[in-house]
Each structure stands twice: as C-alpha cells, then as structure tokens.
C-alpha cells in the first residue's frame, strides 16, 4: 500500500516535470512563433571553416558558435523550439541527477531553465538590439557546460589529479564557455565540499579554481583586443545602446547562482511527511508558471508588427494589410497603430495599387511601442522600407549600420544581396549570396537570386524586384536620415518629381503629398497621377483630398470639372456637420465622437491626425 502511495507521489513529480516542457513547447509555437522567427532572422550561421575560425579568436566564441548552430533551426519554429525545450529539459534533469536533488525539491532544478525561458521570452523589442551571437541558446548550453565541468572535476579522487583536472577544465572551459565556465568552477568547489573526498583534495580544487578564475580571463583577454574589465563576463550579452548591463546579464548570473545553491541542497527525501513534498512541489510549480507568465512579453502591437514585417519581407502585401485590419478590429475605437504598422501598411497599399481606396481607411496614429529602451525604427525595418520603397541607398545604409552595430544577420545579408543585385554589382551580390549559400535554410533562396545576377531581364517579372523597379525611377539625390527613416521616405517622395516617373511612383508621391497636407504639392502630384495612371475613376481618397482642397480654395471650376462621386460629397457634408456640431479638441476626443465611416476619411486625417511623431 505504502509502495503504491510512494509510486503515486513519484508519478506526480514525474508528470509535472514532463508536462512543463511539453506545455512550454506548445505555448512557444502557438503564441510566440513570430518572435522565434525574428530571433532566427536576426542571427546567422554558416557551415564554413573561415567563418568558424572567426569564433576561435575570442574566449566563449565556441559557445557562441554552438548557440548560433541551434538558433538556425528556429527557421522552423517547431523544430528550433523543440531543440531548445529538450536542452532546457536536459539541464533540469541532469541537475537533479548530478546533485541528487531530492524528489520533493526536484522542480528547483528547473529554475535555471525557467530563468533562461523568462530571459529570452521577456525580451520584446530588445530582440532588435541583441548583438551577442548565439545569445538565445547560449545560456542553456553554458549551463550544460557547467554541469559537465562539475562531473569531470568530481571524477578523480587523487588530490594531484584533481588539481590538474580543475586547471585544465577551467582554462579550456573559459576558452569554450567564458563566464559559464568560471561559474561552473565555483559550483564544482561547493560540490567538492559535499563529497567524501579528502581535505587536501578539496583545498587543491579550491586553489586551482581560484587561480583559474582569476588568471584565465587576464591571460586570455590580454591576448585579445578586449578591454580587461569584460574578461570575467565574456560569454554574457554585453551592454547595447541604453540597455543597462544588469538587464543584459543579471538574470543569467542569477541562474548560475541558483545552480550553486542547488549544489548545496541537502540529500534525502522527507520521510514520513505524506503531503509536504507534494505541497512544496506544487508551490514551486505555481511560482514558476506564474512568474513566467507575468514576465513573458505579450504586447499585442509587437506581435502585429512582427507579423506585418514578416509578411512585407516575404512580399505578401495583401497579408500586410489584412494583419493590420484584423489587429485594429480587435481593439477599441481609440486604438492607434505604431508608426511601423503605418509605414508598412502604406507600402503594402502602394504595392497592391490600393493606396487610393484604402490608405485612410485604417486608423492612423503614433502609438508608442511598449519598450523601455530606444530601438530606432531604422534598426527595426530601415532595410525593409529602404528596399521596397525603391531607395536602395537607404536600404544599403541600414544594412551596413545594423551589421556594424549588431553583427551580420540573415535578414541583413538578404537585403544586402538584393540591393547589390539592384545595383547590378555582380561581385558584391556574389559576396553576400555566398554567405547565404553557406547556410542550411537560405541556400535555395541564394540559388534563385543568383539567376537574377546573371540575367537581369528576369528582374522585371520576379518578386520583389518587379515591384521595386517602378519606384526606382527617380534620380539619385542626397539627403540625411538622421531624423529617422520615415521622415527620410516622406522627404524622398515629396521631393522633386522624377523626369521619367511611373504610375506606381506617382501614386506613392500623391499619397505622401496627401500626408504632408500641402495643397500645392497635392495638386502638382494629382496632375501627375492623372497623367500617368489615367484612371477610369479617381480613387476614393484622392477624390476626398481634391474635394476638400477645392472647397477650401472655393474653386468652383475644379468642383465642377472633376468627377466627384456623390458619396464623397455626402461624406464631406456629414463630416463637416458633425465637426461643427461637436468641435472635438484632439484626436482622442475625435476618435470617440466620429463613427468609423467618418473616421476613415481623408477629411478626418486632415483635421484631426496632427503632430504625429515620425521615426
């Protein structure tokens, strides 16, 4: 009977340890697949010797390389997340086994793994700033290295052998895993005091570990180009922009402290106390689940942006607007999109030719991204906007800036290659495409792109070039993007008209003229639009702008000459009536007062969407 109860208790512990990883894997795939894809897209792994040797130059470089190796599998989120969950599970299970963690405390052994989960999944917009290659998988891999170190140092009981092994594994470990190896040595020292080894052996391990911890960073860092202060934390993500060092490193250091504490836990079960182990286990589980759930970054706008960016990068323009539409439908009437959403939506509408009928049918605004640190829009989507808006100089600039600040990434290689192809620079295209040839998941893409390098006639009918070339009809000009890439794009399209423009360019220029609310510019662009597009029917929002400006200018001639729809006239009338009756002071108030059909007009944009903060 007792045996049966004991078995039940064990089963419960086992189930909880089994359920958590499975649940994590399911949640990752159901709720955070877009984020995982973003992590992968902003990493790069090559099966290439030259590339590999670059990692050998720095302590912890091998761990970075290994981290990147696993990160590439996030290209298939189910696979990458499965590998991650398996490694996390292995870290928990091995901790239990190596330190003989008693059953009733076994969930404790999972705490480091959950710190790693929280660290990665609470990142949000920090994903754009992470410059440490392999950062996503490195913590769990470093932790596993630490466990391996403890096991190796445990093996010899001979004091001299212990001394030698500790020094060797310490120095080699630092070279391989940096900070994690040093943390492992501290844990191994604590572990040695729990074992039945001799006092001399313990003292020697302690001495060897102390020497290694102090000397290995000094010796190794003195041979590199690094500042000495960073030697002990090599392997941990470094300070980026305004993100404090504590945010980058604190949780990971805490995880290794937890490992140290686990190594000091008492052995043995709580005999005779039937429910206490279950209660402890349950409490730990609830604590872990609750804290993970609270700290997991779940901002809806962030998710929408990720999906829109991905759709834009994959040239699924209809999907870009669909995602925004869906996101706005699930929000209140005063919901505002972020500038990332607005610029991508405008881009998608220009690409699909729906700008004239849909550009103002979405809510506009400048909702701040929910983040604590500055993440310039140029770093987020500068390359995407530059390329697809037909400004390759902007794309190339942000590819190079991003790669300099944050390292080379798959998405940056992709856009760099496409820009080089657009510039007809064969050698440069080959350089970047070769980098993609060396990857597991992008080599097919590279092969397809290479066809365009040697046969430019294919560009006219191949995405994304088919929809970029019509916007590339402008002459070169110089300008500054220091105010942000959105301002740069606006200035580009409201600048001098190209000598040989295209219908798409003229539509884009007209849209940005409307956004500038400059009637003179509007009329200039409107004429060009009519001339090049020769529309059978003037698109809805162009009509609204023309009607509004004609009314403002009391231009009877224009009001009679242009074929305005009755719907445009009626909407204007309704809008003016409501505006005069209620006189809302600002956008927030207007959002509450105006019904959707009047909110989604150019009139509304013209009068109430003001002072938007552009990025």
């Amino acid at each position: 009977m007792n045996q049966k109860k004991e078995n039940n208790k064990t089963s419960l512990i086992w189930y909880s340890r089994l359920i958590l990883p499975v649940a994590l894997w399911v949640i990752l795939n159901l709720c955070s697949a877009d984020f995982l894809l973003k992590v992968e897209e902003r990493s790069h792994f090559e099966f290439d010797w030259f590339w590999f040797t670059g990692f050998l130059k720095e302590p912890s470089g091998l761990l970075s390389w290994l981290g990147l190796f696993f990160t590439q599998f996030l290209y298939l989120p189910w696979l990458g997340s499965l590998l991650w969950v398996l490694l996390l599970t292995a870290s928990g299970e091995l901790t239990v086994k190596i330190f003989k963690v008693p059953g009733y405390l076994s969930v404790l052994a999972y705490i480091p793994a959950f710190i790693f989960v929280v660290y990665n999944m609470s990142m949000g917009y920090m994903v754009y700033l992470m410059n440490h290659p392999g950062y996503f998988f490195m913590p769990v891999l470093g932790y596993l290295w630490a466990l391996f170190t403890v096991v190796i140092i445990r093996k010899p009981h001979n004091p001299a052998a212990s001394l030698i092994i500790t020094i060797i594994i310490g120095f080699a470990g630092y070279y391989i895993a940096g900070f994690y190896a040093l943390a492992a040595l501290i844990t191994a020292c604590a572990d040695s005091f729990r074992s039945d080894r001799s006092r001399l052996s313990r003292i020697l391990i302690l001495t060897a570990a102390a020497i290694t911890i102090v000397l290995s960073p000094i010796l190794m860092v003195s041979t590199t180009e690094y500042y000495i202060g960073t030697g002990w934390t090599l392997g941990l993500p470094d300070h980026v922009h305004t993100v404090p060092l504590l945010r980058m490193q604190g949780a990971l250091i805490l995880a290794m402290i937890v490992l140290l504490l686990i190594s000091l836990l008492p052995h043995g079960e709580l005999n005779g106390k039937k429910y206490i182990p279950i209660i402890i286990q349950f409490a730990l589980l609830v604590g872990i689940i609750a804290s993970t759930s609270i700290l997991w970054y779940k901002d809806a706008n962030f998710k929408t942006e990720l999906r829109m960016i991905r759709a834009a990068d994959n040239m699924k323009w209809e999907e870009v607007t669909r995602i925004l539409e869906k996101a706005s439908q699930s929000q209140d009437s005063d919901w505002q999109p972020t500038r990332v959403m607005v610029t991508l939506k405008d881009l998608a509408l220009i690409k699909t030719g729906k700008d004239g009928d849909y550009a103002f049918s979405f809510s506009d605004g400048s909702c701040e991204q929910k983040r604590k640190w500055d993440v310039p829009m140029s770093i987020q989507i500068g390359h995407t906007l530059g390329f697809h808006y037909g400004i390759p100089g902007l794309c190339q600039r942000w590819c190079f800036e991003t790669s300099t600040i944050l390292g080379w990434k798959n998405i940056i290689f992709k856009y760099s290659a496409m820009t080089a192809i657009l510039f007809n620079n064969t050698a440069l295209s080959e350089k970047f495409l070769t980098k993609m040839d060396n990857t597991l998941f992008y080599r097919k893409w590279a092969k397809e792109q290479r066809k365009l390098v040697y046969d430019r006639s294919l560009m006219q009918k191949t995405a994304p070039y088919d929809l970029v070339l019509p916007l590339l009809c402008h002459e070169d000009r110089i300008t500054s993007d220091l105010e942000g890439c959105e301002t740069f794009i606006r200035r580009h399209f409201t600048g001098p008209s190209p000598v040989h423009s295209t219908p798409m360019y003229d539509r884009a220029a007209l849209l940005f003229a409307m956004k500038s609310k400059d009637p003179t510019l509007f009329w200039t662009r409107f004429v060009l639009y009519l001339d090049s597009n020769n529309p059978k029917k003037i698109d809805r929002f162009y009509q609204e702008a023309a009607y509004l400006y004609s009314q403002q200018g009391n231009s009877d001639l224009l009001l009679k000459a242009l074929p305005f729809d009755e719907q445009t006239k009626n909407l204007y009338k309704s809008f003016q009536n409501l505006a005069q009756r209620t006189g809302p002071k600002d956008l927030e108030e207007a959002n509450r007062i105006f019904p959707a059909n009047l909110r989604h007009t150019f009139f509304y944009y013209y009068y109430y969407v003001n002072n938007l903060k552009l990025f």
Binding site: F50, E225, D238, G390, G393, T404, E430, H474
Partner: protein, 494 residues
Amino acid sequence: MKKITIPAFALLLAACAPKAPSAYDKTDSVPAIFPDYTDVTIPRNIAPMNFLIEDDADSYITVLKSGSAEYSVKGSQVRISQSKWKELTNAPEINVQVYARKNGKWTAYAPFKMTVSDEIDPYISYRIIPVAVESYEKLTIRQRNITNFKEKVVVSNTMIQDNAQGTCINCHHYQNGDTDNMMFHVRQYKGGTILVLDGKLNKVNMKTDSTISAGVYPSWHPTHDYIALSNNWTHQSVHAASHDKLEVIDENNDIILYNTSDNTVSVIENDSSELECFPGWSADGRTLYYVSAHYEAPFGPDRKNQMFIDRKKLHFSLYSKPFDPDTRVWGKKELIYDAAAKDSSMTWPRVSPSGRWMVCCISTHGIFPLDQIASDFVIYDLNDYSYRYADELNSPFAESYHSWSTNGKWLMFSTRREDGVHTRLYFSHIDENGHFSKPFALPQEDPDFNREFLYAFNIPEFMKEPVHITPRQFASFISSTEATRSKYESKKGE
C-alpha cells in the same frame, strides 16, 4: 638519427608532391585565378602569393618554377609554403603552369609569370573598419608583416571606450616609415592626438582658439620636427540610389603646422573663401603640396546645406608652397592644377621618396575620393609638373589612399575594385620612367580572404619596422592621460 630523419621526411614529401600530367591538351587562355596574380611584378621579400583557381574542373595541379626551384600544388587552392616560396623568389621570374582535369582529360592553361623585383618595406599598417556610414563599434589599427602572414593589433578602440561612450581611432602616420616617430588621432571619449616621439608617448590637443579644429589629415616632415595637418569640419549625407554611398563635405578647411618639439601650432593656410586640405611634403621637405577649393558662402547654419547643394561645384585644385624648414618661413603658394577649369577635383598629393613622382587622387568633385566611384589616380612628374592618369592602377571603382614604400619603388593603395564596397589593399611597382606594373592584392594565407572578409582596409601606410609599443600600453596611456593643449604661434613669411 635526427639528421637522417629530416632529409628522409623531405624526400618522402617530395615523392608525395603532385606531378604534372604527362598527357594533356593546351589552351591559349590563362586560368581565371583570384586574386589575379597573372603577370604581376612582386617584391622579392613578399609573402607567398596564394591564389584560388576559379575555372570549373574536377581536379587541378599547379606547378611553380623559378631557376632550379620547383613546387607543385594539388587542388584549386594554391597555398605555397613559406620556405618553398623563399626559394622560388630567389630567381628573377616565377613561372606558373596550371593544369585542370575535366571529364577525365587534362588541359594545360597558358602559363603566366610573376616577375620578382625590388624589396619592399617588411611592414604595413592599416585600419580595419566596418563599411557603415556612421557606426563603428570595433575599430583596430593593425600591422602586418607582409613578408609572411602575421598580423597584430597596434591599437583597438575596444580597449579604450566605455560602453556608453565610443572612441574612434584614425589617421595613423609615421615619419619616413619609422615607428619611433608615429601618430594617430583618438576622437570622442578620451580624445586627443597620440604622438610617439623617439619612442615616447605623448597626447596632445591641437585645437587652439585661433584654429578651427584639432589636426586631421597629417603629413610628417621628412627631416624636421614638424607635421602639417588639415583642419576639417566634416559632414556627410546619404545617396538615395547611387554606387556612391556617401557624400562628404567639409564646411571649412585650413592647414596648420604642428611643431612636435615645442607643441605649437601655426596656420599655413586659412583663407575664409578657400577650403584647404590634404597637405603632403616633398621628399626634401622644402615644398608643401596641398589642395584647395574656392567656395564663397556665408558661415552660418545654412552653409552646410548650401554646400551639399553646391557639392558638384567643389573642385579642389593642387597647390605648392615653398618652405624653409630651418627658419620655418613660408613662400607664396603656386597653382599647379586648376581643377575648376577642368571640372574635376584633386586630392591626397603624395610625393615619392625619390622626389621625382607625385601621385594624387582625381575625381569629378569634392574632397572624399573613398566614396566616389569616379576616383582614380594621376601621376605627376615633378621635374616638369606634367601628369597623366595612372591607368595601370585605375579600375572602374574608387581608388583612394596611397602610400610610397621608403625605397620609392612600390606604391601601396586602397581600392574598391573587387566589389565596389569593401576597400582592399593593392601594390604596384614603379619603374624609372614612372610606369606602374599591374597591381596585385595583398597576399593572404587564405586566398579567398578578400571575398569572405566583411570589413574594409583603410589608410595603408608602409613601415620599416613594427610598432614596438603594445596595444595595452597605448590603451592604458590613452585612458589615463589628459591631452596637453597645443600653443598657437603666428606664421612666418610670405
């Protein structure tokens, strides 16, 4: 025993060396190789000229012969051992024969040669920079022993900068290739100009109340304790759709003379309607060459934008100015090349140590050849100031910074010829008539290096010996020392 073993091992290796096929077809074309080392002239002390055969085949054998020395390599990567290379470069010519096997049949390409010529300075230094416009993160000035493949860091900004405060390092320069007298600038955090004078470290701030900025582009006097430097207010702007990434203008430029013996600065040229830049001494130090563009627009907040609008009107002409190094008295400037009249722009005058030749960059407009695809080299014969485009050196992409070897036989220059973006280093031999040999890329152990490497080489300079101060000594000195302010002194003469 040892004496027997080594030759036996060598014999064994020789026996394993691939042999040229006995039966093959011939083709008139030379093989496509990277870097292109076909029919180049090389220094006798240069590192092995490893290369990659690019023609598609199943297998390759390359045979290098010179005098009695012979060396053969199997495979598309031709990597030559240092010792064998030394034997090969003992003769005046190395003949290279490449065989390729495709579908079971061997083909012999037309052989090509490498002509072995004068020695070159054993060391060079350069800055390794990312290709970004504004960001830099990690910058290093490195030195390379070009007789082999050893490269070391001279100084790295990562050893100096604080996380939140970046440090830029630039414009390293030597007096006649002597590393005991060298300099470089440190900008932003812990900024100042680092001067090594007779092997001792100094940190100075050359900005005075009477000059517009700290020193920028330097030229060290060949015999005296002077450095001529430009002063610059630099701005840059991005191209929307051009092979040129960047447009650089200087809102204002002057030229100053810095005296290293008493830390004084005096103005050489500071005409408010002229933009004077890029000083370069003649070999005897009695003439200073520089460039200048005439530009008139009021100084104020709009000047910068106006200059960007007028950028294509900024034509830098070449001037010379006599100088007596003993009395520090200047003569009157003389126009050598009127750039405005020829709708072009001349920059970076650099005189050969022989005093006979001067190479400059020439472009359509502006001051920054590095970012102008149109930038090429011209060579002046200083005997009669005649010049010609150095077409032997020029490529469809930008040629920019250049440096003469201390024996005056070699020109090293940076060029974007390989892919239009990543600047690489090339060398060329000059003969007594001022003709350059076909340029060749700096040899690398991995012949594919230039294609794989995603950074650019910048400001290549020859050195007779390595820099003896360690990176850590530089870093610790820069971090712990405040820059001494230079004193202003009036110009003499004219």
